[in-house]
């Protein structure tokens, strides 16, 4: 357990080392947020939709604030896979899947916490319809937070599973790029899922990609009624369990292969 704890501590230290880079990243992300909101507002001006523009703006800002949770961003790990340095980790007395799961989780959590707080504060200060609105209610906020936590577990499991596949392919960069594209498109970062055609939404929102940010954001804005919350949380939990099990299985097979082939 201590080992996992120190992974988180290491990550936090790493993130706070590059304060300048974090600041630059935040400024950039805020700028992107402003651009997106402006475009959607211009679109709304011509043809208002059932979902109010305030919700779209909130959607955009929450996506921007937790952007770091979406993408896998661990060049170290990819390098390890490429160079075979992963063999070192086989020598460590830790459960391999758990070790990498903790790494991914730590990177997503620590990477975004530092950025999300100032960005959300900024977005709350923007005028109504441009910035982040307050949550639909206290229960909605609590449900959204629970959904975010579950979504994070689910997404980390998905990423760890992909990592397992990446180890088996010859070209990890292509694989990683594809994974990131799927995530960006179907998580609502490219375009809020609420603006996708309604028939598409029925399918996309069930995919694991939508669990990380789309599900909690809808609870936050109230687009998903409170009565739907148990169902949403259940779906997230099911995905998490399925993805963790699949990941464990794949990693075990990989590990056996690594040992036999000698890296």
């Amino acid at each position: 357990m201590r080992a996992y704890y120190s992974i988180f501590r290491m990550r936090r230290r790493m993130e706070t080392q590059y304060r300048g880079a974090v600041l630059g990243g935040i400024i950039c992300q805020v700028f992107f947020g402003l651009i997106l909101v402006a475009v959607y507002r211009a679109m709304y001006a011509g043809r208002p939709q059932s979902m109010p523009i305030e919700h779209v703006a909130s959607y955009v800002w929450l996506q921007q604030a937790f952007f770091r949770m979406l993408l896998s961003n661990d060049p170290d790990l990819l390098d390890k896979i490429r160079t075979g340095g992963i063999a070192y980790d086989l020598c460590r007395p830790v459960h391999l899947y758990g070790y990498y799961y903790a790494r991914i989780l730590a990177q997503k959590l620590m990477g975004s916490l530092l950025r999300a707080v100032p960005m959300l504060a900024f977005a709350l200060l923007l005028p109504r319809g441009w910035g982040l609105s307050l949550p639909a209610g206290a229960p909605a906020l609590l449900c959204a937070l629970a959904a975010l936590a579950l979504g994070l577990l689910c997404m980390s499991a998905l990423e760890n599973l992909t990592m397992g596949f990446t180890m088996r392919t010859l070209d990890h960069r292509g694989m990683q790029a594809m994974m990131n594209l799927l995530t960006i498109t179907f998580s609502g970062n490219l375009l809020p899922l609420t603006l996708f055609p309604d028939s598409w939404q029925r399918v996309i929102t069930l995919l694991p990609y939508a669990q990380l940010l789309d599900a909690p954001i809808r609870l936050y804005t109230g687009d998903s009624a409170l009565s739907l919350a148990p169902g949403i949380l259940l779906l997230q939990a099911v995905w998490t369990v399925v993805l963790v099990l699949a990941g464990c299985l794949l990693w075990r097979v990989n590990q056996r292969r690594l040992i036999i082939q000698g890296g």
């Binding site: 304060r19 300048g20 880079a21 600041l23 630059g24 990243g25 400024i27 950039c28 700028f31 992107f32 402003l34 651009i35 997106l36 402006a38 475009v39 211009a42 679109m43 709304y44 001006a45 011509g46 043809r47 939709q49 010859l170 070209d171 960069r173 292509g174 694989m175 790029a177 594809m178 594209l181 960006i184 498109t185 490219l190 375009l191 603006l195 996708f196 055609p197």
Partner: protein, 266 residues
């Protein structure tokens, strides 16, 4: 050997060396294709839901999007040395090696990298341009063809100029160099859509500081027959030259930065 031939030779060498890993090259090129297709998909879905943006029809929006993709990714393709590699060169000290050679630094930087994977992004842009021009029934007169070519050409140099900002900040060892992305990648994202979608401050940024609007939107809207600022036709031929001005200004700043680097060092 003159500079341009040196550049071409370097490019052919670099492309050959990337093709040494055909599988990696293929998958990454494919990934680029999917990425840019995803961006186009977002525009398509917006058009599907909203039908138009201000006075711009779906066809117009595809046209703007295509012009941006073609220009921006041509720059990333051929100007990779500046758009991607330069900051790393400053940090790793590779810049010192360039300074020990009897050629201009900028020439050598441009000769040092190429990104042929972007070809698929350019292709998506071409498709989008064609789609837009068909849907909006663009008449391809000689003047319009000239405008399009001029826009792409000047856009290339403007984007190169904007990417120099990051390199310059790196030389002055500014910590938050990522800020520079607001003008480059931010500009690309924003100006996929015509500039009048934005409130005045953003419009000012993309007209005066990073003049995507002058270089792309003014000529494109002229081609589409709906001048964006209501300017006369001849102004559309002049506006893109702003891109060359950006490059010129940044080139001067860049040269100063190199001089600063040589007087401080590390």
């Amino acid at each position: 050997m003159n500079t341009f031939r040196l550049y071409l030779k370097s490019m052919s060498m670099l492309i050959r060396s990337q093709l040494q890993y055909p599988l990696s090259f293929l998958t990454q090129t494919l990934a680029q294709l999917v990425m840019e297709a995803g961006e186009l998909l977002a525009v398509t879905l917006l058009v599907h839901r909203f039908d138009h943006l201000n006075q711009w029809t779906g066809g117009d929006l595809y046209f703007f999007f295509g012009l941006m993709s073609v220009t921006f990714y041509l720059t990333e393709f051929w100007g990779r040395g500046l758009t991607g590699a330069f900051s790393g060169m400053v940090r790793s000290g590779q810049l010192d090696t360039l300074l020990t050679r009897p050629r201009g630094v900028l020439t050598q930087v441009l000769c040092s990298a190429v990104d042929p994977r972007r070809i698929t992004c350019v292709a998506v842009g071409v498709v989008s341009l064609a789609m837009g021009s068909r849907m909006s029934a663009v008449r391809w007169s000689a003047g319009n063809i000239l405008l399009l070519a001029e826009s792409i050409f000047c856009g290339f140099w403007m984007v190169l100029g904007l990417f120099m900002i990051e390199g310059v900040l790196c030389i002055y060892s500014v910590k938050s160099v990522e800020m520079a992305n607001t003008l480059t990648y931010g500009g690309r994202s924003a100006c996929q859509y015509p500039v009048d979608a934005y409130p005045r401050p953003l419009r000012a940024v993309f007209t005066v500081i990073a003049p995507f609007a002058l270089v792309m939107h003014v000529p494109a809207s002229q081609i589409l027959g709906k001048p964006v600022f209501g300017w006369p036709g001849w102004a559309a031929y002049l506006a893109p030259l702003a891109g060359l001005v950006v490059f010129g200004v940044m080139y001067t700043v860049f040269a100063r930065a190199i001089r600063f680097y040589r007087s401080t060092g590390s």
